[in-house]
Amino acid sequence: MLVFLSIFPLFVSLYLSLTRLEFVPGGFALRWVGLANYRKLLFGIEREHFLGLLAGPSPVQRVALGVIAIGLVVFLARSLRRPERPLAGLLGRSLWAAAVGAVAWLLARTLLPGGRPGTLVTTLTYVGVGVAVQYGLGLGLAVLCAQQIAGRRFFRVVFLLPMMITPVGIAYTFRILMDLGKGPFAPVWRGLGLAEVSWASDPWGARIAVMIGDVWQWTPFMFVVLLAALESQPPELLEAATVDGADRWQTFWRITWPQIAPVTATLVLIRIIEAFKIVDLPNVLTSGGPGTATESLTLHAFIAWRTLDIGGSAAVAYLLLLVVTLAVLAYLRLVRRRLTEPT
């Protein structure tokens, strides 16, 4: 039943992504349109929405892309020199190189002046920045809380609180917190002379607002799991290390880190997957605006779904699935190599 729930919808939505909903007398019908929904997103009228406005060629961009291209070629050449690698390995590596190259190309074309990032780049930004900040904060707080200091139980419970609130509730909370006229920081904005400028009308301001909400909400997730991992390591090891004269830094890197590394790998993986699905915050905070600046891929799909463009929605969702799968596979390759090397 559980497997059924997860696989059956996959095929139905693949089918949906190839169709178009049309109203016919007495109801609606699904018309088979082949790959038109995808073509529209990648090359047609929806390209600016999905990929973003591409900047024209400029020297900076050429140099950056050139450097990346050279790096990828070197990477491929190195794998060629190893005789034991079979052809399949080379093929796999070329695929990775192509994927990395495509992402670099997209970032360079949209982030440089003249370009405008689409929902794809926006989502990648949310995921990359958000997960990194959350992990850093979560690990730092967990390490602090694992120390023997008074009142740590209080901190632990307080830090868990943001996770308890439903994302919709958090989104509304941040909407009123960030309100420039009626929010609690209104005097601060006025003092800085910013009352007339709204973060909501500046693309990066709005994106940062969304990311702040996301970090506020999800740092506790990192925190609670890392804390549990820290607490279940055997204390004898730590004591032995202290007796042997290791300082705190060494103890952490040599003993604690290897023990929490597997949990870390899983945790970051789960957060990457979840972060790709961010929808409530941008929807409530900014409705994806200004323009489509804060729209994540899931929100893009949701808006398409709301306007009854079910085929288009499923197509966006499938491209999202593709991107997430690539990102997760790349991440797993990276992590697995790191984790298996020392053992």
């Binding site: 559980l2 996959l10 095929f11 139905v12 308890m164 439903t166 009123i176 607490e231």
Partner: protein
């Protein structure tokens, strides 16, 4: 007592380090608490006071009013209570289910070898069933049959790799996490159709089954990592003494991974407690959960901040209680670790 003191000597902090630690912890506490404080005081404000501009301290800046609380708790008593009960029943049942199934699966994946012959048969039967159901649900058979065949081939080729190297368990685990990758937006429509055909729309069953399926991969993955930290010798010596695998699992593995269990349960509970998108699609008036009630306060007259704040507060309360109870449990993990040695 003795071991506690030893711990303090081993990892005690110098005064400066302690001050720095408190400073950091304190500033993050402020970041965490301020929005909550704002919700709290907003729930005591009258609409006029919210729209007039920011006021900070009750009794000093403004006179608190019970207007919003009375509206939600007394005037709308039944409309608040019903989603509340729904949320409690659905999230508790689905998290317990996910935890039981996921813990067993996580342990099985880690310690036992997967049997390919039986697996292939099961996969084939499963794929055939899927095709049958899909056709039954009005999907064209020209599409359903190749899709089912493709599914079977994919499953078969991933598990068959066990013959070449012993990665099958890793592959299954990877496959399970991949269920989590799919954005819910992509699957809500088919799931909706599915439950509509089964006549289960707007019921607890639909939500419980969906949430369990959604949360299972997280449980499997997290528990697998906690189990991996448990020493194999302990289990082997128990097996030597004649304990059955089930017994080993119950009386050695489970108690040792109690912190992991507590944290995982909390996570899964919170996920289903707060889920919005699936609940929005799968429920109507009867099985509505609290997140929908909160979102519903964004009426045509603009968001009703005061009602929303009250709802958010009464929604946090039980989960916070649960977190405090389980936090005690997480802290006990240290003691369990000490008992082992």
């Amino acid at each position: 007592m003795g071991r506690r003191r030893r711990g303090r000597i081993a990892r005690g902090l110098s005064p400066w380090a302690a001050a720095l630690a408190y400073l950091l912890l304190g500033s993050w506490t402020a970041v965490v608490v301020f929005p909550l404080y704002w919700i709290l005081i907003t729930s005591f404000k009258l609409p006029v006071q919210v729209y007039a501009g920011p006021v900070y301290l009750p009794f000093v800046d403004f006179w608190p009013s019970l207007h919003a609380w009375r509206y939600i708790v007394v005037d709308l008593r039944n409309d608040t209570l019903r989603p509340y009960v729904n949320t409690v029943v659905v999230s508790l049942t689905s998290s317990v289910l996910a935890l039981v199934l996921g813990t067993a699966a996580g342990y099985g994946l880690l310690r036992f070898r997967y049997r390919p012959r039986l697996g292939v048969v099961l996969q084939f039967v499963g794929s055939a069933l899927l095709v049958g159901l899909a056709v039954g649900l009005n999907v064209r058979w020209e599409i359903a049959v190749p899709a089912g065949g493709g599914l079977f081939l994919v499953l078969w080729s991933t598990t068959r790799r066990r013959f070449h190297r012993s990665m099958a368990n890793e592959d299954i685990a990877l496959w399970m996490i991949s269920q989590r990758i799919l954005p819910p937006v992509a699957v809500v429509i088919p799931i909706y159709v599915l439950f509509q055909r089964l006549g289960l729309l707007d019921t607890w069953v639909a939500l419980i089954v969906t949430y369990t399926a959604v949360n299972l991969p997280i449980v499997v993955w997290l528990m697998r990592d906690y189990f991996r930290n448990i020493s194999l010798e302990l289990e082997e010596s128990a097996a030597m003494d004649g304990a059955s695998p089930f017994r080993i699992f119950r009386s050695i593995v489970l108690p040792l991974s109690a912190p992991g269990l507590a944290a995982t349960f909390l996570l899964v509970l919170v996920f289903s407690w707060n889920e919005y998108l699936l609940a929005l699609i799968l429920t109507g008036a009867n099985a509505q959960t609290l997140p929908l009630t909160i979102a519903a306060q964004n009426a045509t007259r603009g968001p009703q901040w005061w009602y929303m704040s009250v709802l958010i507060l009464i929604m946090i309360a039980p989960v916070t209680g649960m977190a405090i109870a389980l936090e005690r449990f997480i802290a006990r993990g240290l003691l369990v670790g000490a008992l082992k040695g």
